[in-house]
């Protein structure tokens, strides 16, 4: 569905773009660390050590310890686990929903398109944080509810992007040709339309991970996201606010982890949007 040729082009281009390569490398390392979790550290995220409060970074605690003597590095690793799994789960669901919605609306056009896209218009004007607050506020801040809230806010954008591309593609000769040869609608959608918009979906999804990871951190920061004792970067930043006077390092590590992750996803997304653009082919 997504030719090896294309991936080869991506790999080649990555060699020429150091910032994108570094960002991709960082995200890969972060993902490995998040999956390895317990193997990466000899502490647990909630083990308190009251003899070692507010330790500065050293050999025993790479990033120091917090107000309960918990190891900051461990909490950041587990925080990455939460952030990345919430981000990826939400992006997977919203991409699927947005892709289906946008493809159907764009392909059928007319009244179907109109009805489907009015729903998108209605939701797109609604700010992310507000929908998230409504969902987590009423149903409680569990991980599932956070993911649902994030999916609700992100899919209309994807649907709109995909629809506009499908509208352009469905008039192409090869789609007419397939129809003339008697291909059924599902076959046309699956074989001719979806493969030609999937590059947009990949770009959009990468940029959306960045937005959604930030949204989860914001919710957790406000206190309506991931609940203690489960660590999340947003929540760690909120907790360390109280100790800013005297222990500013406590805040620096989670803030850096969050900011670098968000920026890295953006850089990779921008890079992919350049390289995966069909017009880019042959220009490396």
């Amino acid at each position: 569905m997504f030719g090896t040729e294309r991936w080869k082009a991506v790999r080649l281009a990555l060699g020429g773009d150091r910032l994108a390569a570094a960002s991709a490398g960082f995200l890969l390392a972060l993902a490995v660390l998040a999956v390895a979790g317990p193997l990466a550290t000899r502490y647990t995220y909630d083990a308190q050590d009251l003899d070692a409060l507010f330790r500065t970074p050293g050999a025993a605690h790479w990033f120091g310890t917090d107000q309960f003597g918990r190891d900051s590095f461990t909490r950041i690793v587990y925080g990455a686990r939460v952030s990345l799994s919430v981000g990826f789960a939400a992006v997977a669901c919203e991409s699927l929903l947005g892709m289906t919605w946008g493809t159907v609306a764009g392909y059928y056009g007319g009244a179907v398109d109109n009805a489907l896209m009015r729903v998108v218009d209605l939701l797109i004007g609604f700010p992310t944080i507000l929908l998230a607050i409504l969902v987590t506020g009423i149903f409680g801040p569990s991980l599932t509810n956070i993911v649902i809230a994030l999916v609700l806010t992100a899919w209309p954008g994807t649907a709109r992007t995909i629809r506009s591309e499908v509208v352009a593609i469905r008039e192409r000769d090869y789609v007419d040709g397939a129809r003339a040869l008697g291909a059924t609608t599902p076959r046309i959608l699956a074989r001719h339309l979806v493969p030609n918009v999937v590059h947009l979906l990949i770009v959009r999804a990468t940029l959306d991970v960045s937005t959604l990871v930030l949204a989860e951190a914001t919710l957790s920061f406000i206190g309506i996201g991931v609940q203690p004792p489960h660590p999340s970067w947003g929540q760690m930043i909120y907790e360390s606010f109280q100790y800013l006077d005297g222990h500013p390092l406590l805040l620096v590590f989670p803030a850096a982890a969050l900011s670098v992750t968000v920026i890295a996803f953006n850089v990779v997304g921008e890079f992919l949007s350049r390289v995966l653009d069909p017009r880019y082919a042959g220009r490396h």
Partner: protein
């Protein structure tokens, strides 16, 4: 023009009813029974039935929803779910002006400074100053607002002790919240202003104005800014929306008794009536901002006429 405004106002009605429906349904799906909560220790099945009838909670959901809409239309938000002595309307009346003042100040700062930085960057394209401003824009758009807040609190409140950390009452309490709130709008107003002015600078009439000997400030004010203003004005309108949303983080960090704070407290206390009212207020604010942006666009752009 009048027809367009009327049309847009009419379009806002279904959005609002839709939001009210969503909130109403969500409130009913929410775990917990309001009657049980209200009665507390005095709960008996008989007393519950009486109270349920008094509150109208035994009527069909559709009828309850129509009632609810009627109450909203007359701005009656009822009393707090957790604290029945507290009227939701009073709560909103106290909190809303604070949030609006914060957002307005932040947008004013962002608009003035953003336009200035954008124009400056556009007049020296590719130079170090332009690159510095562009770098600032990327930073402003990608660093989360609570990280900016932490950095500013650390520098100005804790290191140099110039400003209060958190608290409310003194005018200086406004400084840090407004600055934090202004960062994101500032970044994208600067970006739009730079690209818009940059485009106009390439126009033939600008070259003509220059070649007839006009000084740079005069070219900028007479020929460039007027023609570059449209996207900037629209962006400033949208910035207001960003500032209203940004208030969630800012009001939590700086303990500002605004509407976002009310919403967050309502979530913690599971105070559904207050939560519903705040979400509706936000929906109304957003509909209004979007309306204002579109109408001002239609008004300012001579090529758009309805």
């Amino acid at each position: 023009m009048v027809r367009y405004v009327v049309y847009r106002l009419a379009m806002a009605v279904p959005l609002f009813v839709g939001a009210a429906l969503l909130i109403f349904v969500a409130g009913h799906l929410a775990p917990g029974d309001p009657v049980q909560t209200l009665l507390g220790d005095r709960y008996t099945p008989a007393a519950a039935a009486v109270l349920r009838h008094q509150l109208g909670l035994d009527r069909p959901l559709a009828a309850q929803f129509v009632d609810y809409l009627g109450q909203l239309a007359t701005l009656r938000f009822g009393t707090s779910y957790v604290n029945p002595g507290l009227r939701v309307g009073d709560l909103l009346r106290a909190a809303l002006p604070i949030s609006l003042r914060l957002a307005t100040l932040a947008v004013a700062v962002a608009a003035a400074l953003g336009t200035l930085l954008g124009v400056v960057a556009a007049t020296v394209p590719g130079r170090p100053l332009d690159r510095l401003i562009q770098f600032g824009v990327v930073l402003g758009l990608s660093v989360p607002s609570f990280v900016t807040a932490a950095a500013l609190v650390y520098l100005f409140a804790l290191q140099f002790r110039l400003l209060p950390v958190a608290g409310w009452g003194h005018p200086s309490d406004y400084v840090l919240p407004v600055v934090v709130l202004a960062v994101a709008p500032l970044a994208f107003i600067t970006r739009i202003a730079r690209s818009s002015v940059g485009q106009v600078l390439l126009e033939d009439y600008v070259r003509t104005a220059r070649s007839k000997g006009l000084r740079t400030p005069r070219v900028l004010f007479r020929h460039v800014l007027r023609n570059a203003a449209l996207p900037v004005v629209t962006t400033i309108g949208m910035a207001f929306g960003t500032a209203i949303v940004g208030a969630f983080v800012v009001e939590v960090v700086f303990n500002v008794p605004g509407i976002a704070r009310v919403a967050v407290n309502a979530i913690f206390q599971r105070d559904y009536t207050v939560l519903q009212a705040t979400v509706l207020v936000y929906t109304a604010l957003f509909s209004f901002v979007n309306l204002a942006v579109d109408v001002s666009y239609a008004y300012l752009n001579p090529r758009v006429r309805y």
